[in-house]
């Protein structure tokens, strides 16, 4: 569409009541109401909220890809970016996995099923689903960073024959902070190789203790040149994991990682998410390692 034709539509839209509605829906700042269907408590500070839009039409037209995020509004608390944590193949609802870490997320944790929040999006780049077809995937997550990766895992579980071998390496500070424990059995049943690690164990812990990089042993060298690694977690973890993946033989073309930045708009205007010349909200949050250069300022 040319700029001129957009302007003509705009001016038509300005007149008339039906038109005003169109303009509303074209206003990228206006959230749509969504209802909390279900809440799963993952850890003391993390819960997964199953959501759908109140407007049926919104639900029908809503689609997203793993790795993309939503701008979440909670009454009086402003907005925060939150990744979508459900499979993109699911159509009637989607989920957000949220850690209680500040004002908005705290308010979110006080909500109950039936409560309403505002959502804009989806925004940002996604993990490359098409490129992932038929390839072995090594998924490395740390802490709440497992949320967008869960969206990938669920997509893989639903279409096991679309992907090669899928391995998940997931670390957190202690066993109490590992999310998605109740569903990991079903990931394994779908053929996903799951390995867990914590910085500090408690009595019942049966898996490894250490940093997530300790799981990246020679066993996880790429089997084929085209194997892909997907990473999400705190900046410092990302740095060390990528370093290790490169040692293991993953090329910078085949490593995907997410970056986290403060965000206000989500679509490239407010300037909060600058990372060198990139805007993380539109050029990311998912980046190919080869796009990133030095990783010092993660």
């Amino acid at each position: 569409m040319t700029e001129r034709s957009i302007r003509t539509i705009d001016s038509q839209v300005m007149t008339g009541r039906a038109g005003r509605l169109r303009l509303t829906s074209k206003n990228p700042y206006v959230p749509r109401s969504a209802i909390i269907r279900e809440i799963t408590r993952e850890t003391d500070s993390v819960s997964t909220f199953v959501m759908s839009f109140i407007d049926e039409l919104e639900n029908n037209s809503f689609s997203y890809q793993p790795g993309q995020f939503m701008m979440v509004s909670v009454a009086h608390q402003g907005e925060a970016p939150i990744s979508i944590s459900s499979s993109s193949l699911q159509s009637d609802f989607f989920s957000l996995t949220i850690r209680n870490s500040g004002r908005l997320t705290k308010a979110m944790h006080s909500l109950k099923p039936g409560n309403v929040i505002g959502l804009r999006g989806p925004y940002g780049t996604a993990f490359p689903l098409e490129e992932m077809q038929g390839r072995n995937l090594l998924i490395v997550g740390g802490g709440i960073g497992m949320a967008p990766l869960r969206s990938v895992v669920h997509t893989c579980c639903r279409q096991p024959d679309h992907f090669g071998k899928v391995s998940v390496l997931y670390g957190s500070q202690n066993p109490g902070e590992l999310c998605f424990q109740s569903e990991m059995q079903s990931w394994k049943e779908a053929g996903v190789d799951c390995r867990l690690i914590v910085d500090a164990a408690d009595n019942g812990w049966q898996h490894q203790v250490g940093l997530v990089t300790d799981l990246l042993t020679d066993e996880f060298r790429p089997q084929k040149k085209k194997d892909l690694a997907l990473v999400c977690g705190p900046g410092i973890m990302i740095r060390f994991v990528i370093q290790r993946l490169e040692e293991l033989g993953y090329s910078p073309e085949n490593i995907f990682t997410t970056l986290e930045r403060h965000m206000k708009c989500g679509f490239g205007l407010c300037g909060h998410c600058h990372c060198r010349e990139k805007l993380v909200c539109v050029d990311g949050p998912v980046f190919r390692r080869s796009q990133l250069g030095v990783l010092e300022d993660l």
């Binding site: 957009i6 302007r7 705009d10 300005m14 303009l23 509303t24 074209k26 206003n27 990228p28 700042y29 206006v30 959230p31 109401s33 209802i35 509004s73 009454a75 009086h76 608390q77 402003g78 907005e79 850690r99 870490s101 500040g102 039936g114 409560n115 309403v116 929040i117 505002g118 705190p234 900046g235 986290e260 930045r261 403060h262 206000k264 708009c265 679509f267 490239g268 205007l269 407010c270 300037g271 909060h272 600058h274 990372c275 060198r276 010349e277 539109v282 300022d297 993660l298």
Partner: protein
């Protein structure tokens, strides 16, 4: 061929503006009672006087992108009986008024074009900016006398514009040389032909002469291109940035006064338990909280790098993203910052360090 150059006699300026004001609001540089010259919406052409000899202290930024703007109001209704809880947003778009901006300086016009790229050229159109911008008419004034801190010649945004305006006026003493660029400018000339006479060869000669003289009058030599080149080559003047950051008092003045600093914040302002407003306000990347994230993790070392983002954004990131630096050389931050943490100080420091290095290299050869 459509004629593009006209003459408007100075006696005709006010009558011409009066005509324009019939169907539009008028914004022009006006000297207020404090003695400040500001771009101001004029309500009374008889008693307010247009001041074209001073640089307006503000830019046009706030006319399209106000310092505080309500985006929506929202309501929160608790569930009662059968009706579920509701949380709704009602956008409040500004009306799209027709406004003529008169006496706009070249750098300020250039800044509007930059803001257009940001607010209208990206993935989403900013409908608030668009509403204010859509019916704007720009009559710019070429600069014959650059001001003390100006370096638009080095930033390549002036002193005369080659495009982007609707009409560009050049002061030739008793008359204005008028150039037409955009369709809206042509329409104005067509609508009020009584004010415009075709420019002759003498006028063209005088215009050429004025443009030439103006270029020779800049008092500052600011090496914008060299600074851009050094940053592009990966130069990181740590000591200079640390020194400037230490002097920064975190007031945000440079970003607020800057015609191309467009970063903003969005916050909710509750009005009662069940309703409130979502507003956006200007933000500055020099502020402490600008990049802070969960867990108080900050990707910017605030003490030593507070001002890095602003300079790098203008001189490196925008070159990579939009093909040119976004400092338009208006010099406002030079006048604004009492700590001397302005972009000229940064460019000078960066280039001086480079000079020293090349001197050293040459000494080494000897």
């Amino acid at each position: 061929m459509r004629r593009k150059q006209w003459i408007l006699h100075k006696d005709h300026l006010l009558p011409f503006l009066r005509k324009l004001r019939k169907s539009r609001s008028l914004v022009a540089p006006v000297r207020n009672s404090y003695g400040d010259t500001m771009y101001t919406e004029m309500n009374d052409l008889d008693n307010e006087s247009i001041e074209l000899a001073e640089q307006p202290q503000n830019s046009l930024k706030s006319f399209f992108f106000p310092q505080r703007e309500k985006l929506c109001h929202y309501s929160v209704d608790e569930a009662v009986g059968d009706s579920a809880q509701a949380y709704r947003f009602y956008p409040s778009l500004p009306e799209s008024r027709a406004v003529v901006y008169f006496g706009v300086r070249s750098c300020d016009m250039f800044a509007v074009m930059y803001c257009d790229t940001i607010f209208l050229g990206g993935r989403e159109r900013d409908v608030y900016y668009d509403a204010r911008r859509r019916n704007a008419l720009f009559i710019t004034l070429a600069c014959n006398h650059p001001f003390e801190n100006c370096f638009c010649n080095a930033a390549r945004t002036g002193p005369y514009l080659e495009m982007g305006y609707d009409l560009q006026f050049t002061d030739l003493g008793d008359r204005y040389f008028v150039e037409v660029d955009k369709a809206r400018g042509r329409e104005v000339v067509q609508q009020w032909p009584q004010f415009f006479v075709p420019a002759g060869d003498d006028d063209r000669q005088a215009h050429y002469q004025a443009a030439l003289e103006s270029r020779g009058l800049f008092r500052r030599q600011v090496h914008v291109d060299l600074a851009v080149q050094l940053l592009d080559q990966g130069e990181e003047p740590q000591a200079l940035l640390a020194e400037l950051s230490a002097r920064c008092q975190d007031c945000g003045g440079c970003a607020f006064i800057c015609p191309t600093c467009t970063c903003f914040n969005i916050v909710d302002q509750p009005l009662s338990d069940d309703r409130g407003e979502r507003v956006r306000t200007w933000d500055a990347c020099t502020f402490d909280g600008f990049t802070r994230m969960a867990g108080n993790h900050n990707s910017v070392q605030i003490i030593s790098q507070r001002v890095t983002k602003r300079f790098y954004h203008k001189l490196r990131d925008d070159v990579l993203r939009h093909g040119r630096s976004s400092c338009v050389g208006c010099g406002r931050c030079v006048g604004m910052c009492f700590g001397g943490v302005d972009i000229v100080r940064f460019i000078d420091g960066l280039c001086a360090a480079d000079d020293k290095r090349s001197e050293k290299r040459e000494d080494g050869h000897d």
